[in-house]
Each structure stands twice: as C-alpha cells, then as structure tokens.
Amino acid sequence: MSSESRARIMARVRSSCAGNDAATIERELAGLGVAPAAQAPHEDSCVTFMVNVLRNQGTLDVAADRSTAVKLIGNYLYQHYRSHRLVAGNDPRLAAMPWRDGGVLPRFGEIEEGEQIALSYARWGLAETGATVFFTGKRNPSRNNLLPEHHLVLVDADTLLPDLESLWREVNTAIANGSRPRGIHCIAGPSSTGDIEGQIVYGAHGPRAWHVILMGNVSPEQQEAARALHAGKTGPAPA
C-alpha cells in the first residue's frame, strides 16, 4: 500500500537526516550561494542569444517591427512550402499581427493532422542557452511546439533574459501571482537524436526545423557580431 510505504520510507529518511528545523535548513540553503552561469560568448545578451540560436542549429531572422516580421514569415513559408498557411496559438499578440502585409493565412488553435508549420510567440528568449521559453496554455498549446515539421518562433528583443537564474526569477513571480503554468518549455533547437552510431539527425520526433524571428531594436552591428562569432565556432553535437 502506498500510504504504508510512505510512512515506512519517511521514517527511514528521517532516521538518516539531521532533523534540523525549517529555519535552520533555509538559512543553510541561503548560505550556499548561487551557481555560476556559463561564460557568455559576448557581453551583450542580445548578441549572445543570436549566437546561441545559430549554434543550436536554429535559423534566425531579425525584424525591426511587426510588419517586417510578418513579411519574413511569409517568405519562409513560401520558400519551404510554397504556402501561406500556418497554425498559431490563441495568443492576442499573434492575433494582432498585420498578417496581410506578408500574405500569411494563419489558423488559430491547436495543430491538427496534416498541418506542418506552427508559429508560437515566446514569452522570453534566454541568452545563456539560446532557448525560446513558453508557458503551455491556450495561448501556446504544447502540441504546437512539439508536433510541427517547422516550428517558427517570434521573440521580442526586449524580453531577452541573460541566464537561467533570471528566467526563474520571472517564473517565480508569475507563480506568486497565481499564474502557475502547467508546463514550461525551453526550446533550444530542432528535435534531434544521435542514437544511431552517434550521428546527429534532426527531426527525431518533433520539428525538423526551428526558425526564430527576433523582433525589435537589433542593430546591424549586433547582428554582424553574432554571425561572426557563430562563423568562428559552432556548438558541439548531441548524442
């Protein structure tokens, strides 16, 4: 029985533990300090984010405004699928995009069989890992992140966070405000596998391609710095 097992297991755990009170434990924990983060390839978080997206085998577009972003999305769809259609979550920010500017025909909701391209609006971009971060929910159904062949992601440049600790500060605030997400997805690249002879193949189960559109004030110098850093060195491969 699980409840009897619980009692037995807890008794055994307690007999091996120091038996400190909560205040002592929390004080000791606070005294352990914080973990160091990875050294960034560039001091500018925006450049670091772009380099890491490219190292993650993502493709990257930069758009100064929403109209440009939609045009770039339209180009991407046409280039890869000779199509104008995609599926997007019920995110008001996506609903408000000027879709006609790019001739894009979005359908809002969850991805269905036969649909191959999904667009998501990331809550944050994470410079340390080059990940795009989502809360699962109506605005961002988890299937839209996991089932398409091509996953397109919009990220606002002013939502970029430097490291994992700053991400959790934001998430903890959301939880404290009563908006605990069911799932948090940090997506850093197309789905990949190295399970056969260690050779990397993209599109293991999830998207074969992951395309990030960074929207906002990103200077040509920042873009140039990111591309130069990426050209100098790409990230290691998964297994």
Binding site: V13, N145, L147, A204
Partner: protein, 473 residues
C-alpha cells in the same frame, strides 16, 4: 530486470571477441571525452559549478525529510497524485493499477532508467498493455529484445546495418530504401508518431524534482519525453526520492552540469518543467498526473557510508571515461547500470553477492572520479566494496589469503625489500637473455595475454638507495 552480473567475466570475454563491437566502443571512448572536455572548457567556471552543485545536493540529502515533504505538499497542491513505492514490484503495480483504472491499452514511454530497474515494461505487458519505448535508442533495443548498453545512449552498441535489418523485420511497411541513418530515424518517427497520438498513458522519468514549487524537470533532445508528457490523457512520472532539490535554480544548475557531462552539448534541445494536470485555462495536457517516488534501497544507501552515490545525476560520463567499460561495453555488467556508477550502484541496489565481480572491474585509474560532475569518489567506493566483499568472505579464499600475506609483508618493509630484492635478481638472471617471460607462476592472468618484461636487475628501493648514496658522496 533480471541480473547477470555474476557472469561479468564471461560477458566481457564475449564482448572482446567481437571485433566490430570493440572497434565501435573504441571510437566512442575516443570521442565522448573530447566532446565533454570541450563543453567543460567553454563553460568557464566549471569547477566552481561542480562544487556548488555538490554542496546543494549534499544539503538536499542531509535534509531529505524536509524537502521530500515539501515537494509532496507542493506537487499535491498542483493537482498531482503522489505515490511512494518501497520496492520495484510496488512501483510496477501502482503503474498497472493506474493504467487499468483508465482502461488503457497503449502506453507511450519516455526514457527512464528507473523503470528499467523495476522491469516495468515486462510487468505492464504481462498485464495486457502495449508499451512502446519512444526514445529512439530505447525503441531500438526494445524492438531487438535487448537491454540498454549505456544509460545515455542505449543503442550505441548497434550498427546502422543491424538497425536497418531490425526495422525491415519489425515494421510491416513493404519494400523501401533504408540506406541512411536519416531514413532509419524517419521511419521510427512515423511509426512512433501514431503511437504517441493513440496512447492513453504517458510514462516519463524526471531529472529533478523541485521542492519549492512541485515541478518536475525533463531534459531531452528528441522531444519524445515531452510528447509523452503532453499528449496522452494520463501522465505517470516514475522517479526516485533522491531526485528532490530545494529550488528551481538548483535544478537548472544541475542542467548545466548534466548535459555537458552527458553529451558535450551546452544544453539539450528541450528542457521542460511540468507542474501538474491540465486546468480550465490549458489548451492541452494530461487530465491526470501521478508522481511515483521509488525507494528500492535508496534509503539504505542514504543511511550507509555510500550516501555520496545518491548525488549521481546519471550523466554517463564515468562510463565514457572508464577503460573497463570501453573494453567490455555495458551489457557485460549484467544489469541496468553499467560502468563505474553501475559497479557501485548494482551491489547497493541488489546484493554484494550477486554483483561480486563488479567492484573488481576497475583499474583504479581514477578517471571516473575526475570527470564525475557530482564529485562522487567512485574508486574509493569500489575499493570499500571490495573490502566489504573480503570481510564477508565473498572474495575467494585464495585471494584473501594472498592479500593477507601481502599485507603482512607490506607491514614489514625490511623483510619486504629483502625478499623482493632476491625475487627481482633471480628473475633478472633467468629472463635477461630473452627480455621477458612467456609464463610465470602466480601471474598466469598477465602472461596469458602478454609477456612479462624481465626486471632490469635491481628493485626501485635498491636503486633509490644507491643514487642517494652517490649524491651524498
């Protein structure tokens, strides 16, 4: 899972007789350390991170009663059903009960060494369920009727040709080309996609459980674990109680260490955190979520001198750096966990008798301890296990007598040096012409594989004294 650790030596001999397998393992043993080293160097303050995580993990284990209760409370408040399982059988029966309550027929499973440990697949299949492994490596070994050979890359012992034959045999898809590795991955994708969409229950493991908010962390490259966690109506997380960490940032600190040590990547494609079942405001996700916390001797380990082993984050780095693992491969170890971590864990999770060969499968080179991101003193633990074997008389009597004689001599340095001096002088005299010995009494194990070089005439201590004297003059 059935244990065959007793046959380690036979298994190892068979593995070494397979030239193709040896070549494949040599390549892995060459490249995996290079990739890990590059990732560690690129990180920067790696040693500081390692020591930080070691302190946090130790603190979590020292206060596991507090953090376990906190995790249970938060996870329950999030809508999860939390179960405790004392033994492998109990975990299996909890999972089967949940599946049966929901009238499930198909189960999609993410990679989980814990469920390998409990033999969950066989148990569920005996209960009438169709269980499909969805991690590509796990899927391949499941289809082949084998077990994983590595805790991170379960099918790295198989060649593309073997996998091609396997898929042609198992997938009823007619005539087709399956030439490249991409073709093979593509075929598994198609076959498994259907299963993901049809499964009523998803089962995954957990890389960390976060006490402060009740979340569970999942780290994958393929995204299969996330499909298991999001598509079926019921999600079961099978994990162990030692995975609990105080804060979310502690889980991400582990993420930094784990992925670099495991694959040499800075991070995986998917790092996800799940808090509980779907609510009204969610578009999708499981309607019911269960978290099963398995003990299976972990509380015994916590109470023992081997509690450091509970810091293990299952990165597989010690396997990749172990000369024994490279030579024999993972199957030789005869149970779920191979390599140095397996040689410590297996005796602790099963018994010292049933795993007698494993603590001896070690050259004491120390590489595993050097690269272990959790700073676990693996060689020391292996030595302590060998000592326990000797005390409990599991070690053969001839070995024990030999070791006792050696210890007796080593405690008498004068006599030791005198006798070794004679031995070396005699061997020098006999062997100097040929330069080596084809066979030697008491050293048959050595000379069966290679010649024993003839000593140069004097022992180290004799030469040392000679040089010290000449330096003084």
């Amino acid at each position: 899972m059935e244990q065959h650790s007793q046959q380690f030596k036979e298994n190892a001999a068979n593995a070494l007789a397979d030239a193709g397998g040896v070549a494949q393992r040599d390549i892995l043993a060459l490249f995996t350390p290079i990739m890990r080293d590059a990732a560690v160097a690129e990180f920067g303050p790696y040693e500081a991170l390692r020591q930080h995580v070691k302190r946090v993990r130790q603190h979590s284990l020292d206060n596991l009663d507090y953090y376990l209760a906190r995790f249970e409370l938060e996870a329950t408040n999030n809508g999860n059903q939390v179960h405790y399982a004392d033994s492998a059988d109990e975990m299996n029966s909890i999972v089967l009960d949940i599946c049966q309550q929901h009238g499930a027929r198909k189960v999609a499973k993410g990679k989980s060494m814990v469920t390998e440990e409990t033999g969950l697949n066989d148990y569920l299949q005996r209960g009438g369920l169709q269980v499909m492994e969805t991690d590509l490596g796990e899927y391949i070994v499941q289809q082949a009727g084998e077990t994983p050979s590595h805790i991170v890359g379960p099918a790295l012992h198989k060649t593309r040709d073997q996998i091609r034959e396997l898929f042609l045999d198992k997938h009823d898809l007619g005539e087709r080309e399956l030439e490249s590795i991409s073709d093979l991955v593509g075929e598994a994708r198609v076959v498994l996609r259907d299963h993901f969409l049809q499964a009523e229950v998803g089962i995954i493991g957990s890389n960390a459980l976060i006490a402060e908010n009740g979340y569970s962390m999942l780290v994958t490259n393929e995204g299969n674990g996330d499909l298991c966690a999001n598509l079926p109506n019921v999600l079961i997380i099978c994990t162990t109680l030692d995975r609990v960490l105080p804060r979310a940032e502690d889980a991400t600190a582990i993420q930094r260490l784990l992925v670099r040590s495991a694959t040499g990547q800075p991070h995986t494609c998917y790092t996800s955190f799940y808090s509980g079942p779907r609510r009204a405001e969610d578009a999708d996700g499981p309607l019911e979520t269960h978290i099963i916390l398995l003990d299976n001797h972990r509380t015994d380990i916590l109470a023992s001198d081997y509690s450091d082993m509970l810091r293990c984050i299952r990165c597989g780095s010690c396997l990749n750096h172990c000369p024994i693992f490279a030579a024999t491969g993972g199957h030789a170890y005869g149970w779920v966990y191979p390599g140095p971590m397996g040689s410590v864990l297996t005796p602790l999770l099963t018994s010292l008798e049933a795993s007698a060969a494993l603590p001896n499968a070690c050259t004491s080179c120390g590489r595993c301890a050097e690269v272990c991101p959790s700073a676990i003193p693996l060689p020391d633990m292996l030595r302590d296990l060998r000592h326990e074997q000797s005390v409990e008389k599991i070690t053969p009597a001839s070995w024990r007598q030999g070791l006792r004689l050696h210890a007796w001599l080593a405690c008498r340095p004068g006599l030791y040096q005198f006798l070794t001096g004679i031995g070396i002088a005699v061997m020098h005299r006999i062997g100097r012409k040929k330069g080596g010995f084809r066979s030697l009494p008491l050293a048959g194990g050595w000379t069966s594989k290679r010649d024993f070089p003839s000593p140069q005439g004097k022992t180290f201590m004799q030469q040392y004294r000679q040089r010290s004297r000449s330096n003084e003059q």
